[in-house]
Amino acid sequence: MSGDQKPDVAAAEVPAGSRPHRGGYVPHGIDDEFAEASGAAEPAPDTRGAGDKDGSTPSAPRIGVVGMLRWMWRQLTSMRVALMLLMLLAVAAVPGSVLPQRGQDPAAVAEYLGDHPDLGDWLDRLGFFDVYTSVWFSAIYLLLFVSLVGCIVPRTAAHWRALRARPPQVPFRFTRFPAQASATTGLAPDDAVELVAARLRGPRYLPTFRVDRRTEAARAHRPESRTISAERGYLRETGNLVFHLALLGLLVSVALGQMLHYTGQAIVTEGRGFANAVVDYDTFTEGAWFRPSSLVPFSMTLDAFDSEFASETVAFAQARDFTAHVTVTEPDGTRHPEQIKVNHPLVTDGAKIYLQGNGFAPKITVTDSDGEVAFSQRVPFLPEDQLYTSRGVVKVPDVSRGDQIGLVGYFLPTAVVDDDGTARSTFPQPLDPLLVLEVYRGDLGLDDGVPRNVYRLDTASLTPSVDQDGARVKLLVRPGETVDLPDGLGTVTLGEDVPRYVALDLRHDPSLAYVLTFALLALGGLALSLFTPRRRVWVRAFASADGTTVVEAAGLARGDDAGLQGEVDRAMSVLPELEDDGAGPAAGSAEAEDETTKD
């Protein structure tokens, strides 16, 4: 942005001091307009809004509704309020990390509500279990963004004007500036200024400074002078604006994604598949603007699932690799094999399919007391620990007669049965699988229309099977075995092979590219705004009484800038030094050249 500016001859003739300084920069001070911009935080006692209209004096407290709104707007867009909102935002985000959240873990919320009925109820009413969608959290960030817009729009306009305005004119005295240099040269003032200006401007296609040359009328002890006003670092404010605007874009993209996205979860066992249709998912959530027609009708089969676990002692049974081998069938009938791994989702037809979980889905067959097959299905068991001690439920409502049967228990991939009869898993791979089941009978409650969790069996109203001592019967079933159920309920059979299942998440979010673009724009803008040096350099050249030319320079930077003096010295280094005997630029200029190339 720090573009080159052609010397404006007409403007250069304007005598120094005749150009009014509008607010912004004060050449003789050490502040620059950034200090002024932040000064917007000051509650300006401005009553013009209403005062002008009704003609009352500025001291009148009557500011009316418009004035009030104006005042509120000014407050909201002030830096001070933005700062408060930022602090509030940080504080408001914290409860969501301490209390369970519905969006992340609805089961934990239910458990919390059960454990703390009174407090939980109040917290729930105040939105503490949906912090990030709650009214108060949304209010804070929306106000923050309104404040941001109110701050950024005028700043963008101001920056636009600054980009087209000329660098501020040369101050009368250089002595107060943090960086200074002076030199005497045999060149004419015009030539000296030309040299220094070219140096400041830098490469033609990547200018460093924006340079403006003028002529200054004779003043006090000084004859007429040629001057340079140079400024660099416009990118600093540009970056700042880009950062804030990108945040706005980010918010809009995320919101759009929320409206347009859909996600579906499906559990698929080896050899089986699912089709990309709303009914085929176990759970399906969609944004408000989602239409089912946007689901591409591909289908997918899980061919095999591989897992690897560490067997060395230090990290025993830690997962090392999960791979799902699948075949995707496109809508046009073409088939192609694919892999899905953790960290490597399958991208197909605009959707991503993630491998989110895995486990065992043994085939369980139950015959009832009449010997009829009442249940024969693969039952997914949910792993509860690193060793895949997996819990599952079998609900058998369709018995020929008598009570319905419910089985609850654990699947242990590599089982060890201790002396006291308890069984546990010792490795996550199915080396020696064992099914441990408890048996219940009664009304499973599946017929009353209330939705039930398929992975839970409400045993409160059921009768457990017990042995002579009153202890619950634990059936141990190995692959291929058939075991009699107690109380003459029938038999249970575990299939010879133990199929695996994978839990797949399918997700489609058309806003991702925009979210990423705006995030990267914000990052780039931020880096520019924090790391671009903002400097001004002024140079004045005039003929001294002895026929040589005096060149003076001063530099000003925003904040603490260790490179400022170097910048001024570099600019001056192009001037050929005047030798004592007045022999011309030879030696001095060679030295100066050396110095430049070193930089």
Binding site: A93, S97, V254, A319, D321, F322, A519, L520, L523, L530
Partner: protein
């Protein structure tokens, strides 16, 4: 296993070096302030003699931290800066040993050596010490030494005693090149925030002492630090680098989460706290340029921000459980 053991030995050696460096730096600060007092006494005596006694208004004002001017090996009346020299040498040594320990740890486990809390602390401490010695090559910042070295030694001992886990492979969720980028950048940011935090704390103390806070009256060494303005400038430079890196940490983490967890942002506890850290440091950057909030108040944001960084690392990993629980501790 041999390399893993050597790595542990090097960590202990680095912790020892940093502990000694801290003492050396502290001795240096004490000597400087002692010399300063002696100098002032001498000056006062001279004034008293010249004025023929009873000229309290001629007492020289407490010097504005000229002792740490650039480039002077000796300061404040020719005090030897041997302590600072020893501290610097040990800091360099500690950084080198930590680097070696980290490399060996990576070789022993056959992967990027920043995948659990223990390794995170090692690398974070290395970055903090490296940033400190790096800053010292550019400008005079040895007054930070006692605190950076002290924090570093504490972190290393804590890591070795509390967070230590054996070097081993990675679970599938961590097997991604983003581990190198996302976590690496997060650690670097943490290391930089550490040094900036020290600078801001010194700024607050120095500022309070200059204002005559009673309990700081005895802390004469504070006069050896640069002015609060200079400390704030140093802190700001470091924090702005840290903030950009932290922004990148959030973006990189979101990209990785999109691949690994199926969403780029899900308000997981670690995400919440990374967001809180980001917002606090953003507030700091705004406070700096807000009238009435610059200076001391802005420095408090750095303190709060760094506390959030530490909690994000320890509390979120150990107390609150989320998807980021990769401490390797059970």
């Amino acid at each position: 296993m041999e390399m893993a053991n050597l790595s542990v030995l090097l960590v202990w050696a680095a912790a020892t070096a940093l502990a000694i460096a801290m003492i050396a730096f502290a001795v240096d600060l004490a000597r400087l302030s002692g010399a300063r007092v002696a100098e002032r006494d001498a000056a006062r005596e001279k004034v008293t003699v010249a004025a023929g006694g009873g000229a309290p208004e001629a007492e020289p004002a407490p010097g504005p931290a000229a002792a740490y001017g650039p480039g002077n090996g000796t300061a404040a009346g020719g005090v030897s800066r041997k302590g600072a020299g020893i501290g610097m040498a040990l800091s360099w040594l500690a950084a080198a040993m930590l680097l070696a320990a980290i490399v060996l740890r990576g070789l022993a486990s056959g992967r990027t050596p920043w995948a659990n809390m223990y390794e995170f602390v090692l690398v974070g401490t290395f970055v903090a010490v490296a940033v400190f010695v790096g800053v010292c090559t550019v400008r005079e910042a040895r007054f930070l030494g006692a605190f950076v070295a002290g924090l570093g030694a504490t972190f290393l001992v804590l890591a070795q005693n509390v967070f230590f886990v054996a070097a081993t492979g990675l679970q599938p969720a961590l097997q991604n090149y983003w581990l190198v980028i996302h976590v690496g950048v997060a650690i670097t940011a943490t290391g930089i925030f550490t040094v900036a935090f020290v600078s801001s704390v010194l700024q607050l103390l120095r500022d309070a002492r200059d204002e005559g806070t009673p309990w700081l009256a005895a802390w004469r060494w504070l006069d050896q630090t640069p002015s609060p303005t200079a400390l704030e400038a140093l802190s700001f430079r470091l924090n702005s680098v840290g903030f950009v890196l932290w922004t990148f940490t959030l973006i990189g983490g979101a990209i990785w989460a999109e691949d690994a967890w199926g969403r780029y942002w899900g308000w997981d506890p670690k995400e919440v706290w990374s967001f809180v850290v980001w917002v606090v440091y953003a507030a700091y950057l705004h406070a700096r340029t807000t009238r009435g909030w610059s200076g001391r108040r802005a420095a408090w944001f750095v303190v709060v921000g760094y506390a959030c960084v530490l909690f994000n690392f320890t509390g979120v990993n150990l107390v609150i459980n989320g998807k980021h629980s990769y401490s390797g501790l059970t």
